[in-house]
């Protein structure tokens, strides 16, 4: 954080990025409330969480992790491209990022509907018949991946908006802070998944 006071009339790039970082703090704390619930309930129902986690498909989880990490790469490459004023490649890379986000959601959709088809969803008779730890595990699973999914959708919308600006040339090699900030948001969405993935799929 630089503290050099400046008094610019129009654009303050450092200020914009600082504001974005502040916003990311709020997102981390928003999810932090849920991570807090997870840690309390996991410590109380360790065995149930352990057994319930084995029911989730590590394969789909891994594929989705690879997809999101790749999308973080493409958005980083898009920023790199726009810095060199290669607007066409930046636009393509942004398009790929959005497509990867969509692919992630499609996988998530099949995963969720699979569970729902088996009768495992909040307040379902099948789920309520199971142990308390299992109910809480799936409750956390749906709420945390659901909130994360909403963030994926929001991130895709933001990136689509920036894509339009890149195509129009309002985001270009000289003025690309909007793309950088959208990229930061996308990385955060990715980062939260990187914590969700082991907590729900791997720690069995």
């Amino acid at each position: 954080m630089t503290d050099a006071p400046i008094h610019s009339e129009h654009k303050d790039y450092i200020g914009s990025k600082l504001g974005m970082w502040f916003f990311l703090f709020t997102e981390i704390i928003l999810f932090g409330g849920l991570f807090l619930l997870y840690s309390v309930y996991r410590s109380l129902h360790h065995d149930d969480f352990h057994r319930a986690a084995t029911e989730l498909s590590v394969f789909i989880g891994t594929v989705n992790t690879v997809i999101l990490i790749t999308s973080s790469l493409t958005v980083a490459l898009a920023i790199n491209a726009i810095k060199q004023d290669r607007r066409a490649s930046a636009a393509v890379l942004l398009g790929v990022t959005i497509a990867l986000g969509l692919l992630f959601l499609v996988n998530k959709y099949f995963e969720w509907t699979g569970h729902i088809h088996e009768g495992i969803y909040p307040d379902s008779p099948e789920l309520l018949a199971k142990s308390h730890g299992t109910i809480l595990f799936y409750g956390l699973y749906y709420v945390m991946t659901g909130l994360h999914g909403i963030h994926v959708i929001a991130g895709m919308a933001v990136l689509a908006g920036v894509l339009v600006m890149v195509l129009r040339g309002t985001v270009n090699g000289k003025d690309y802070v909007k793309l950088e900030n959208s990229g930061l948001f996308w990385h955060l969405v990715d980062l939260i998944w990187i914590y969700l993935f082991p907590l729900f799929y791997l720690i069995t």
Binding site: P5, H7, G19, F25
Partner: protein
């Protein structure tokens, strides 16, 4: 109001030149009018409650209506008035002026904050008339009742969620503004202390409010999907809700009080013609309060079910908050020493603030101590305590700030005699209204009850009479301010002889605040 930013050209006409303006001064006044409208609604609900409690066995409203009335009084006063409060109104108007900037860092996000605020308010008020009727949970929305009740909790909670977004974005905006837009020479140690208090508040708004957001979202999720996080039948724990709620709502107390402390710190040097005593200590104590404020939420839950170790730790940390608060009080009082004191309305409100806040703060320690907490928890003692801190503290500081900056905001001067009379009514009315509640609470009268035993009759009667005195003071103050804004005498640019940057520009300030960007060479309160 026929000069300065009031007459700046705009792409919009009439009211649209206000509700679509990105000028921080117009947004500040937008907040000001909306806030005081809601304040009057909240005050009317409070008067209704006090009228209901005038004597035991008076039942002109039903118990269910009474539950809704205290819920709405709390939601409106806390989320619509006192949390946005000083930062949204005075902070918006004055922060850029005090640091020599043309506007905040993100003017459009600033406007968006107001729209979030007004949408949240609309949701909260719509919840009164739609669905299953007005919420009846109390402002804390405790589970399991908030999940089970048939009243319109979801919409009200969503409204509060939007208000939280507004508060977060305001904090984000102010932090970035203070980091990036200080005028040349405005070093950190030259910042006015009101700015320091907004800086500390900004961090709390930024880092605490998202916890409220997720907690409120979980109430909605539970109501619609029944996930069971807080339902023991499904393995959940309602106490965890209380933890999440207070992890936000205790720091929120400092969102409310810190800017008030900042306001009185501006007023004291000006009206005693002395530089502030202990500038660094006051600035750092704001950060200290913000920091410790995060770690004490458990003291709201001493009787909820918690291990003795946690209770002792939370109690100790609670006592630690008293240290930075005490540092401030002693520095304020020391600043008057050998000063040339001029007793005007802003200073009267400031002195009332110090007195009432000290009572509120010290009675807070009564509740912070574990043994006495068990005695007073959930009684009128708590009601008295937080009204002394929030109303006697924050609202009195807010009023002090409004009088102090009124000539800057409007270019006109209020009527001093009327202002002092209103102050007297407020001060007397306030103590008559709330002090008996300490006694009632100590004697064991529970808060939120619809009716009470005959032995509590006299203090309740006194308290209700106090509510009328207080309300008449508010009305007198409002009339004075509204009339003076229209037809008061011209005040000149610097009627108080203030030294901070806002007094170096015209009253009301021009659209871009300063004709030329000021260069700062000295600290904020350079009286000899």
């Amino acid at each position: 109001m026929t000069s300065g930013f009031y007459t700046a050209p705009s792409n919009h006409r009439g009211i649209f030149a206000w509700i679509f303006s990105t000028d921080h001064k117009r947004i500040g006044l937008l907040y000001g009018t909306s806030l005081f409208t809601f304040f009057l609604v909240g005050m009317s609900l409070g008067l209704l409650m006090r009228a209901k409690l005038i004597a035991p066995g008076v039942h002109f409203i039903s118990a269910q209506t009474y539950n809704s009335v205290f819920t709405l009084h709390g939601v409106i006063m806390i989320f619509l008035f006192i949390i946005p409060g000083i930062p949204a109104v005075l902070g918006n108007f004055l922060l850029p002026l005090q640091i020599g900037a043309r506007d905040v860092a993100f003017p459009r996000i600033n406007l968006l904050s107001w729209w979030f605020y007004i949408s949240g308010a609309a949701c909260a008020l719509t919840s009164l008339f739609t669905g299953g009727g007005p919420p009846d949970t109390g402002w804390t929305f405790y589970v399991p009742y908030s999940i089970r009740t048939g009243t319109n909790v979801s919409l009200a909670v969503f409204g509060v969620f939007l208000l939280g977004m507004s508060s977060t974005l305001t904090g984000l905006n102010f932090l970035t503004t203070i980091h990036r837009l200080r005028a040349p020479g405005m070093k950190w140690k030259r910042l006015p202390l009101f700015v320091w208090s907004l800086y500390a508040t900004g961090w709390v708004q930024l880092l605490a409010t998202p916890i409220l957001a997720i907690t409120l979202l979980l109430i909605i999720v539970e109501r619609f999907f029944g996930v069971g996080f807080f339902d023991p039948a499904k393995g959940g724990d309602p106490i965890l809700f209380e933890h999440l709620f207070w992890i936000y709502s205790h720091p929120a107390v400092y969102i409310m009080i810190l800017p008030g402390m900042g306001v009185v710190t501006e007023i004291i040097p000006v009206f005693s013609r002395r530089s502030i005593f202990g500038y660094t200590a006051i600035a750092l104590s704001s950060l200290g309060i913000a920091f410790f404020g995060y770690l004490v939420w458990g003291h709201h839950m001493f009787t909820s079910g918690m291990s003795d170790e946690s209770r002792m730790i939370f109690s100790l940390l609670t006592f630690l908050v008293a240290i930075p608060s005490g540092i401030k009080v002693f520095n304020w009082v020391a600043s008057f020493y050998k000063g040339s004191i001029e007793v005007r309305a802003p200073l009267l409100f400031t002195l009332a603030f110090i007195f009432l806040f000290s009572i509120g703060g010290l009675t807070g320690l009564v509740q912070g101590a574990l043994a006495t907490n068990v005695q007073v928890h959930g009684t009128y003692f708590i009601v008295a305590h937080f009204h002394y801190v929030m109303f006697g503290g924050t609202a009195f500081a807010f009023f002090a700030g409004i009088y102090y900056w009124f000539p800057k905001i409007t270019g006109r001067m209020y009527r001093e005699g009327v202002a002092k009379t209103a102050w007297f009514l407020l001060f007397v009315g306030f103590n008559t209204l709330y002090f008996p509640m300490f006694v009632l609470g100590w004697e064991g009268m529970p808060r939120r009850y619809y009716d009470y035993l005959p032995q509590f009759a006299l203090p309740n009667l006194i308290s209700t009479i106090g509510s009328w005195i207080l309300a008449s003071g508010i009305i007198l103050m409002a009339v004075n301010l509204i009339r003076s804004a229209r037809s008061g005498e011209a005040a000149g640019n610097n009627p108080w002889g203030g030294t901070t940057l806002e007094w170096h520009t015209s009253s009301p300030p021009p659209a871009e605040n300063f004709e030329t960007v000021p260069v700062v060479t000295t600290g904020p309160y350079e009286y000899s």
